[in-house]
Amino acid sequence: MRDVLVEVRDLDVYYYNIKVLSKVSFQVYKGEVYALVGESGCGKTTTANAILRILPEIARVGEQSVINYYLENGDCINLLKMPEKKFSREIRWREISMVFQGAQNSLNPTLKVKTHFFETAASHGIMDKEEVYRRAYELLEAVKLDAERVLNSYPIELSGGMKQRVIIALALFLNPRFVILDEPTTALDVLVQREIISLLMELKKQFDLTYMLITHDIALVADIADRVAIMYAGRIVEESSVENIFYDPKHPYTIALLNSVPKIGDFEKLPEGLPGSPPDFKNLPRGCPFHPRCKYAMEICRKLEPSLIEMGDRRIACHLYAEEVSEE
């Protein structure tokens, strides 16, 4: 059994009293790229924010939710129960860091790039300016930027692609072991996307990192992910290796997602999108949240919500497969 780095168990999150995450459970193994995939509003970013404990004030995490993190020396701590000061000092950016979705807006417009590095170091007790400058310089070179010029310029003077690279360098600054990538390439052109992706994979090898990729871009998942979890309406509906998901998808929503992505050369077949509209958390349908848009919806789907069950090297939440598992 490969050693686990992060284990999330029964994670529930409420905005005011609306449930946006329901019993989300998964494990991320050391050294892999674990992808959380789903359309906008399915709760994937909320899951990432819950791990790094930067949910907005109006958010509340369920009592029995657990997020275990395995430190280098082997012992495991529940991140949700750690006191804020200790969590900020030991976990944030030293163990877990994050590349934000709006990378364009993640740098303080009134501070130079180098100040971002100094203040992050200072807040973790590293005061030695030369050491910090050298480390920052090294990282910016690693992300193929003109370190000298970039360190002394303001965020507004950098292009979108350059800001993205600065954010990545900043994320690796305190040698974290687990990096969450929240939609790292959405706002970028396809050529720049390509460069950022290959850069991220190089850095993963160089610094022995584990990635959690949050994205709605199916093709990007196929490109770099090892294991994939599909999320819909705040729940994981299917999780397995990237080969299983792409070559043998089981859950109707996964199948629909894969079909809606254009492939080079298929001129005739027009992709059938999903009927109906995205789920509204305020009045989710009873039973399986996907049943209004599902071709195979059965009577039971409208009444009982399927739980996430093991099925071979795959986990799935769908009544179509419930009998199969019980027969085995």
Partner: protein
Amino acid sequence: MRVWTWMIKKITLTVVLWFLTVSITILIILATPGNPALMLLTGFLQQGIPYNQAVEMVRAYIGFSPNEPIWVSWLRYVRGVLTGNLGLSITYRIPVSQLIAGALPWSIFFTTYSLSLTVALGVIIGLAMAYYREKALIIRAAMGLLTIFNSIPNWILAAILFVYVGARWKLLPYTGAFDPGMSPEANPLGFIFSVLHHYTLPVITMVITSLPSWAFSMSAMAASVLKEDYVTAAKARGLPSRRIILSYVAKNSILPIYTQIAISFAWLLVGTVWIESQFLLPGLGSLLSVTTGSRDYPVIIGVYVIFITAMILGNLLTDLTYGLIDPRARVEEE
């Protein structure tokens, strides 16, 4: 090199603006029915002074004469302003420029003293209101109190404080700028202390009535900055909340409302007309309110021009310092 050209552009624009503003105001004054020169002339004629001598006197006092076309008087007056000759005061019979020279320093001291207090308190209160928002009950109470302060005109507050805190309970000095016995040469430290003591009540009046607008716009600005991605990113990087409040929330909130300093400066400067006259403080404000009673037009218009000049300089200063603080301003303008 870029910053320098940006500065020159700002300064030249300001000079043009100054010239336009002075000219337009003079034209408005000349154009209103009941032109001051005519008023003066009728005054002199009533005293039996022959016509052409009276016209001469009017020109000596006010700088423009009743029967010439508006633009001639305008030209003459503007030339006078440029050469520092703002005409003679009717009531005191000494050049207006001397009167103003005596009063100006006091008003500048009073306005900048109140402005700095207002901005400092406004920013702090605004930040606190945004950061704690609806949670703390005291914040809601502060909101209510600030709204009440916002609805009291400063001249009413001046009257109340003057009558009660000053005259009735004698807690704080309420007339004059310093103790008559004190003089700057004899005892400079004592003099300064006495001035500050005398100015406590007037400054309180100014600060209380102009603080709310600062607190409200600051808290609105800070609330929107708190939602920005870079604040969440800073929290994620484990930055202490003290650091986030100061160099993230405060710094990014102050900049957009920084230009409000110039407007507050103008508002305070105008407020001196009521506050200085109420507390009998020397300054342009009281000079203006005294001379309005006796219709001393040369002084009134002279003080007015100085006020506008002070305000335009205030604007220029805020623009220049704004450019230095916020890199975006310089870069954006290119």
